[in-house]
């Protein structure tokens, strides 16, 4: 048994792939790291620069305009609670990390989803990869992320991005495939080019479904917060991990509550946005 393991060593193959990548793809990963860092710094600055109360006010108004009064009230109380518990900076760090990961995730995921919807061949290749990505335990993403991007928030963003990417691809693909045949036919019959059809017909009609994918992507990204804390991504993940490792129940619990508040806020607001795009059509 051990001999066979030596001959076909799955983990070993994986290891040599990563080795090869670190040696030969250095410039590429440095480039990615630079991009992620730029975006992450920018977003973090936006959320750290204004005073907490102003950001809370903005969030509350946003929740009110986009969702309901109830959500707005929850947002107000929830974020004040976070401030009161003393995790404001960590919460904003986590929010920045989630936003950076989601923005990159959508930038990659939506075009892949569009491509998958246009080509059955592409979809047949992409689908098993997505299945694989979604069933692989989230921890496993940390290893290559750390090896390729060292420790800190950048591999945190990368691991989160990869983990939360599948729903964006899946639902973009589904949304476009579900556009009624007659609408696609109408666009072609009136002389639309492929890109006109995509921009003027398919994407707008698929928007509610794509927005549902965005919502799921955000939720998955949030679920990675604690895990990515293990590689030093910082934010609320660190708080919870500290609670676990030092057996400080109070800290762990407070960190958990802050994550839940952030999650509910993001979910309700994006859900409302997705309902809105659905109602319009």
């Amino acid at each position: 048994m051990n001999q066979i393991r030596d001959i076909v060593n799955i983990g070993g193959i994986f290891e040599s792939i990563i080795d090869w990548l670190t040696e030969n793809g250095d410039w590429f990963f440095d480039f990615i790291a630079l991009l992620v860092e730029g975006l992450l710094d920018g977003v973090t600055w936006v959320f750290s620069f204004p005073p907490a109360l102003i950001i809370i006010a903005i969030f509350t108004v946003l929740a009110w305009k986009v969702a309901t009064k109830g959500v707005a009230l929850f947002t107000l109380i929830g974020f004040l609670l976070i401030l009161y518990m003393g995790y404001w900076q960590q919460t904003m760090d986590t929010l920045s990390l989630v936003i950076a990961a989601v923005v990159f995730g959508l930038l990659v995921g939506i075009p892949i989803g569009i491509w998958a919807s246009k080509s059955d061949k592409a979809w047949n290749v992409i689908r098993p990869i997505l299945d694989f990505m979604q069933t692989l335990p989230a921890f496993v993403y940390l290893i290559p992320a750390v090896l390729l991007f060292k420790l800190g928030p950048i591999p945190g963003v990368i691991a989160t991005l990869i983990f939360s990417l599948p729903p964006a691809v899946r639902l973009t693909n589904l949304g476009i495939r579900q556009v009624p045949t007659e609408i696609k036919e109408a666009a072609r019959a009136f002389g639309a080019t492929s890109s006109q059809m995509l921009v003027k017909a398919e994407l707008p009609v698929a928007l509610p479904t794509i927005m549902a994918g965005v919502n799921q992507t955000i939720m998955l990204a949030l679920s990675m917060v604690v895990i990515s804390g293990m590689i030093g991504a910082g934010g609320l993940g660190n708080v919870v991990l500290k609670g676990i490792t030092q057996l400080k129940i109070d800290i762990g619990f407070e960190g958990g509550v802050a994550i839940v508040i952030l999650a509910i806020f993001l979910d309700r607001v994006t859900q409302a946005l997705s309902d809105r795009s659905g109602r319009q059509s």
Partner: protein, 418 residues
């Protein structure tokens, strides 16, 4: 030259369509070919032409290949073999760019389930074709508004499609198709999704529009009544995807090409197809400008009628004169007939369907006068002629009860003709 010329068109769906062609040539049926090759023969060797400005209806049962055919014309579906010439140019040989031009400016399409963009309001939907063609905003807005007016949707420019009824949504579809003023209008079961009342109304409006616009309309339907109502000519597709007959409604009703078509038209309500113009008879008239009671009496006696229609010098119908009144006028030595002209007669246009005349025919004492738009007298339709049409549609075996008064009328009529 015909505007659209279709030559030996085949469309075969499936993994290897060209393999099925020799089998078709050998005369295998649709089912046999499907079993052998896994290919579906949707259109099987269609050849025919469509003239400028005619309304050409393609009619067949579900699955006979109607949608496939109309989509071959603008290549939403790629034909397998054959030629489709539009203005002499083969659509099938066009490159993408040229084909787009044709779709943008030459022909447009109306869909069964409307195919509107749900996120755009009415005017933006109507603008769609102009927009993808690159027209400036002001220009396309103007054209869109004009098209919306044409289909009677003024005031709904800003509504979303989901706020409109089915009939109104299809008007938007029609406006979108008319906006770029195309020469050819392709309509795939455009009214089939509408409820019967709205459907009839839309048919009437299409006929109305057509008298103003003179487009070439290619209209798909599975409903023979609809085909007969709006088609100048009708093409009947068999279930095997073959063209069974092409002809005017009257030709198809009077002379079905084969048993399939015959069975098809058997259940047609003839009274909806046959018009007053088709069954009208000539009838003697007197002219109020030159004829006196003397002449009127002579004509009535000659034809055995108790009344006669009166026209003016331009043959515009003035009314009817009874023999009693003619006698009175003669006694009183009045030469002018105008004092005794009875205007209490029913008139109809030549294109009115017999079915629509039935109620009137049962009520009136006199025959119904057929006049054109300008009131010019064309002839008469009497009760007997209408009843004859109704009976014609029935199977020979079924004997329907006939009112005694109708029999009397018919007898009188025969006497009159003899």
């Amino acid at each position: 030259m015909a505007l659209v010329e279709v030559r030996d068109l085949h469309k075969i769906f499936g993994p290897n369509p060209r393999k099925a062609i020799p089998l078709i040539k050998k005369g295998l049926t649709k089912q046999e070919i499907l079993k052998k090759t896994g290919c579906t023969v949707a259109i099987n060797g269609a050849s025919f032409s469509i003239e400028k400005k005619e309304t050409f209806v393609v009619m067949g049962l579900s699955g006979s290949g109607k949608s496939t055919f109309i989509r071959c014309l603008n290549r939403l579906i790629e034909p397998t073999t054959g030629e489709i010439l539009i203005d002499g140019k083969d659509i099938m040989k066009m490159d993408k760019e040229t084909l787009r031009e044709v779709r943008r400016y030459k022909m447009s399409m109306v869909f069964q389930h409307f195919g509107l963009l749900p996120h755009r309001n009415v005017v933006n939907n109507v603008e769609f074709g102009l927009e993808v063609g690159g027209m400036t905003k002001d220009e396309r807005r103007e054209k869109a508004v004009r098209a919306i007016k044409l289909v009677g949707l003024e005031g709904f420019e800003q509504s979303m499609p989901s706020e409109l009824s089915g009939g109104m949504q299809q008007r938007v579809g029609l406006a979108r198709a008319l906006a770029n003023d195309p020469e050819i209008l392709l309509m795939d079961e455009a009214f089939s999704a509408l409820d019967p009342l709205i459907r009839t109304q839309m048919q009437d409006e299409l006929l109305d529009l057509q008298t103003k616009m003179h487009k070439t309309i290619i209209f798909i339907t599975h409903d023979l009544d609809e085909a007969l109502k709006i088609g100048d000519r009708i093409l009947i597709l068999g279930p095997d995807g073959r063209v069974r007959q092409v002809g005017t409604p009257e030709e198809i009703l009077a002379d079905p090409a084969d048993d399939y078509v015959k069975k098809f038209v058997q259940n047609v309500d003839r009274t909806r197809v046959i018009t007053a113009g088709l069954i009208k008879r000539r009838s003697p008239t007197v002219c109020v400008a030159k004829d006196g009671p003397e002449a009127a009496m002579r004509l009535m006696e000659k034809h055995g009628h108790s009344h006669i229609f009166v026209v003016n010098a331009d043959r515009v119908l003035q009314g009817i004169l009874s023999i009693d009144d003619a006698v009175k006028l003669k006694k009183e030595k009045v030469r002018d007939l105008s004092s005794k002209i009875n205007t209490d007669v029913y008139t109809t246009l030549p294109e009115t369907a017999v079915a629509d005349l039935m109620a009137t025919a049962l009520e009136t004492r006199f025959p119904i006068a057929v006049i054109d738009q300008d009131g010019v007298f064309q002839g008469i339709v009497d009760r007997a002629a209408i009843i004859r049409e109704v009976n014609e549609g029935m199977d020979d075996q079924t004997l329907t009860p006939t009112a005694l008064s109708d029999i009397h009328d018919e007898l009188n009529e025969r006497e009159g003709n003899a």
